[in-house]
């Protein structure tokens, strides 16, 4: 049975994932829309930048974020100037790192969904008197709903599963930055295999269910015409 420390880690993890996904949907939707519709030269570089966390080891991202957010880093200067203090080894720091780390998992399904809509529905909406924002909120977003859902689910699951970046930025502080993956690591280090099993097994079942849900979502996707 999970102990009080485990429950604290679970609460922290869920809070982190929820906050991260909320921020990612706000931040990732305009990025995905731009990537799907732009013909700008910048589309390539921006797309690659967004996708970097997929291929980089989390420690690399964590290392540079640590430097950037640290007292000598540009983001560190900024947060200090804004009176927020330094973000490494705090919960807000974890959120910032998670947003970067999970960005492609939200942006890419959304971008694909936006691209799949094509010009037809948007042009039709324009001839039906819908302006650009109206078209986005009442045609593009509803039609991209499957992408929105799978982006949210993937982003959530991916944030829960992160380890390396949490270790670099969060620093394994109980109750503040010690998430489930850290807690499992601690249990294993302390040879508490039973407690590790409870958390690891839970994570395993959770991830499996998430992927099942994704499959179900994909299956219900209908042709937009």
């Amino acid at each position: 049975m999970p102990g009080p420390d485990d429950w604290s880690a679970i609460r922290l993890t869920l809070a982190l994932a929820t906050l991260t996904v909320s921020l990612l949907l706000l931040l990732g939707t305009p990025i995905a829309w731009w990537l799907a519709r732009s013909r700008s030269w910048w589309k390539g570089p921006v797309g690659a930048l967004v996708a970097l966390p997929i291929v980089l080891p989390p420690t690399v991202l964590g290392f540079y974020l640590l430097l950037a957010l640290g007292p000598q880093g540009p983001l560190g200067h900024l947060t200090q100037a804004l009176g927020l203090g330094l973000l490494p080894f705090t919960f807000p720091g974890l959120v910032v790192a998670s947003v970067f780390y999970s960005l492609p998992f939200v942006v890419q399904p959304l971008q694909n969904a936006f691209e799949a809509i094509g010009e037809g529905p948007l042009e039709t909406a324009a001839t039906l008197r819908a302006g650009p924002w109206d078209r986005f909120f009442h045609v593009a977003l509803p039609l991209a709903r499957p992408g929105l859902l799978s982006g949210a689910v993937l982003g959530f699951a991916h944030t829960i599963g992160e380890f390396g970046i949490v270790l670099m930025i969060g620093g394994n502080i109980p109750g503040r930055t010690r998430v489930v993956s850290m807690q499992i690591y601690n249990h294993v280090e302390a040879l508490e295999y039973g407690a590790a099993h409870a958390l690891a097994g839970g994570l395993l079942v959770f991830s499996f269910l998430v992927l099942m849900a994704m499959h179900a979502l994909g299956g219900s996707r209908r042709v937009w015409r």
Binding site: G120, P121, E123, T124, A125, A126, T127, L128, R129, A130, G131, P132, D134, R135, H138, V139, P142, L143, R145, R222, V223, W224, R225
Partner: protein
């Protein structure tokens, strides 16, 4: 403010150029006719504001929608057009009622001239209102697309081959509704088509495009009778006459239609006396005789040869003839024309083998 539609368009799209200078009537059905790739759809998209060009001039019944010189370009969603696409995109996240109301709700209440009930009745789609998108037939989709466009109370209706994606049976299903639009709406309609029979049936005014260039433009009857053009219509060269049912002969099941060309007997289609009837006479169904012959052909009228021109095949020749107040085309072999020694100004008899009431 001048009525009518003024178009000054010179657009270059890669290797393709679209040039059209048109002053069109501000009402009735304007058929935009031409082969695939002639720029018909591009013209309609430009009118609707869907093409990114800022150049050109577009004025619709006194409203300026585009004027390149003054950098005026009203965005698509502020142009009062109703656009029916070849493949209607119905929003799958809305049921049929929601689809119809999408445009309606975006028009200020004071500017609405078409009510939901009216459009639903006109296109006979009341039974579909609570249906979802899937399971709708092609004909039903197009009817919903037309109703949806009408509900935005457009000042201009753009129909881009609304029948092209439908099979023959579905075409027959939708065509009557288009004719009803023609009869009941007092807004101008652009009707893009490459089907001559649709044009003959629906159009009042004809715009002929070819490879992005304007070939001809004018009232349907006069434009169809032009000899420098029928080549574009190939087998379907012919004229359209507006007439009225004058008499019904119950014994022979025939109806007499009074047309500018004179009286024509057609099969009785059940229309009441006095009803307007549009009649189409194809050039290949008209033959010419020097003397009045006793033949099986019902409709024989005196005519005068106006013009003789070559046709699509070197063996054939096309004649433009004045018949009463109208003009009719006849397609003969060159040999027949030679044997009859036909020349402009000759008085002859035309025998019309088939008359189609549209």
């Amino acid at each position: 403010m001048s009525a009518g539609i003024q178009i000054r368009l010179h657009q270059r799209l890669g290797a393709f150029a679209l040039d059209a200078e048109l002053d069109l009537p501000g009402r009735g059905v304007i058929a935009v006719f031409g082969p695939s790739g002639s720029g018909k759809t591009t013209l309609l998209r430009w009118i609707a504001g869907l093409q990114p060009t800022v150049d050109g001039v577009l004025r619709v019944n006194g409203e300026c929608w585009q004027d390149g010189a003054s950098r005026i370009r009203v965005p698509a969603h502020r142009r009062a057009v109703g656009y029916v696409f070849q493949h209607t995109v119905l929003f799958p996240h809305l049921d049929v009622r929601g689809k119809l109301e999408f445009g309606l709700r975006r028009v200020p209440a004071g500017a609405r001239r078409v009510a939901l009930a009216q459009a639903v009745e006109m296109l006979a789609i009341a039974h579909l209102l609570d249906r979802a998108t899937h399971g709708l037939s092609g004909g039903e989709r197009q009817r919903i697309g037309i109703a949806r466009a009408l509900l935005t109370s457009p000042r201009l209706l753009l129909l881009d081959e609304p029948l092209a994606a439908l099979d023959l049976a579905r075409k027959q299903e939708v065509l009557p509704y288009l004719e009803r639009l023609h009869a009941e709406l007092d807004i101008p309609v652009f009707y893009v088509s490459h089907a001559p029979d649709e044009v003959a049936r629906l159009a009042d005014h004809l715009v002929l495009l070819e490879a992005g260039q304007l070939r001809a433009e004018g009232p349907l009857g006069a434009t169809l009778a032009r000899l420098d053009l029928p080549i574009r219509l190939g087998e379907d060269a012919g004229v359209v006459l507006e007439g009225r049912i004058a008499e019904r002969d119950m014994h022979w099941q025939l109806a007499r239609v009074a047309t500018p060309a004179g009286a024509l007997w057609v099969r009785d289609g059940g229309q009441a006396i006095g009803q307007a009837a549009r009649i189409r006479i194809l050039a290949r169904d008209v033959s010419v005789a020097r003397v009045l012959q006793h033949s099986s052909i019902l409709n024989t009228l005196p005519a005068q040869v106006c013009e003789i021109a070559s046709d699509s095949h070197p063996a054939l020749t096309l004649l433009r003839l004045r018949v009463g107040q109208a003009e009719v085309l006849a397609r003969l072999t060159r040999r027949s024309a030679d044997e009859l020694a036909l020349a402009a100004g000759n008085t002859v008899w035309v025998q019309i083998k088939a008359v189609a009431v549209l």
